[in-house]
Symmetry: C2
Subunit: 143 residues, 2 copies
DNA sequence: CTCGGTGCAAAATGTTTGCAAGTAC
DNA sequence: GTACTTGCAAACATTTTGCACCGAG
């Protein structure tokens, strides 16, 4: 593992500790498989990727790991129009375009969104944890 | 039905015709049940509501009706973090706050969003049909 | 050693499909 | 009369749960 990878792993170990999660090979593999992944994979897709590292890992473990990572903030769940839950390592603010036909999600940047302020009516009643512009439509390959 | 309701029904009939959908009592009931509904209901919830008007309607009919309404633009599907598809009569631009615990969706307005321009990189490759700010967090009753 | 995590299997939940009978046009 | 819709049931896909064994701390 390179220096950057080592650093990332340290951060991960740190986060597990502070969330009270034990450090298991399965969790590390799920984490490594997702960090840097921009494809917003489903649990199934993560499972297939992780199985290359740990061939006898079960789907349930992957799925439970993903859900617990979401609960403690290591990953983010992605808004979706389909039937499958999808995940995002979610570093930094970015926005999504999602194809209504194939479900593909494309990230984009929109620096001007920095000036967005959560309306008083929302802020007064709710704890806001995520913010994002979501576009929908039809992607090039589905047209 | 009052005058406004009559007008809404006319629009609905119009839309069905131009989409090649036949006008059935079931479809009209689904449409009426959703128009003006701000709760972003799931198919199951729409089913329960429609069944009060047509007691022997089946869940499948409601679900298929919702899906075909989405295809022809009479309704919109709502982005979601849960496992259930949800629907929105979707008149006019508005934005969503969704509770990550209970899934409740609250609409809000943000007039400044009118100045949002879809980035060139997206516009060049994709057909954009919907645009919205999506906030996530924890609602007052889940805290 | 202890408690949380894993893997397997079963159950639950939600969505989609096939088809005969019914109905809008 | 024809083609689209409906209702029922079965098939599918995906997520969640229960539990005995295992392994990190």
């Amino acid at each position: 593992m390179d220096k950057q990878g080592k650093e990332a792993e340290d951060i991960f170990v740190q986060r597990c500790r502070s969330s009270g999660l034990r450090l298991t090979p399965q969790r590390l593999a799920v984490y490594e498989s997702l960090s840097g992944d921009k494809s917003h994979p489903s649990a199934e897709k993560v499972f297939r990727k992780v199985r290359k590292m740990i061939p006898n890992i079960s789907f349930d473990t992957v799925n439970r790991t993903l859900l617990s990572f979401v609960s403690c903030g290591i990953l983010k769940a992605v808004e979706s129009y389909g039937r499958v839950k999808r995940f995002d390592p979610g570093l930094g603010e970015h926005h999504h375009f999602q194809c209504l036909k194939c479900g593909k999600i494309i990230d984009f940047e929109y620096p001007d969104f920095a000036s967005f302020r959560v309306p008083e009516t929302i802020r007064r009643k709710f704890v806001v944890m995520g913010r994002r512009i979501v576009l929908t439509g039809i992607c090039d390959s589905c047209r």
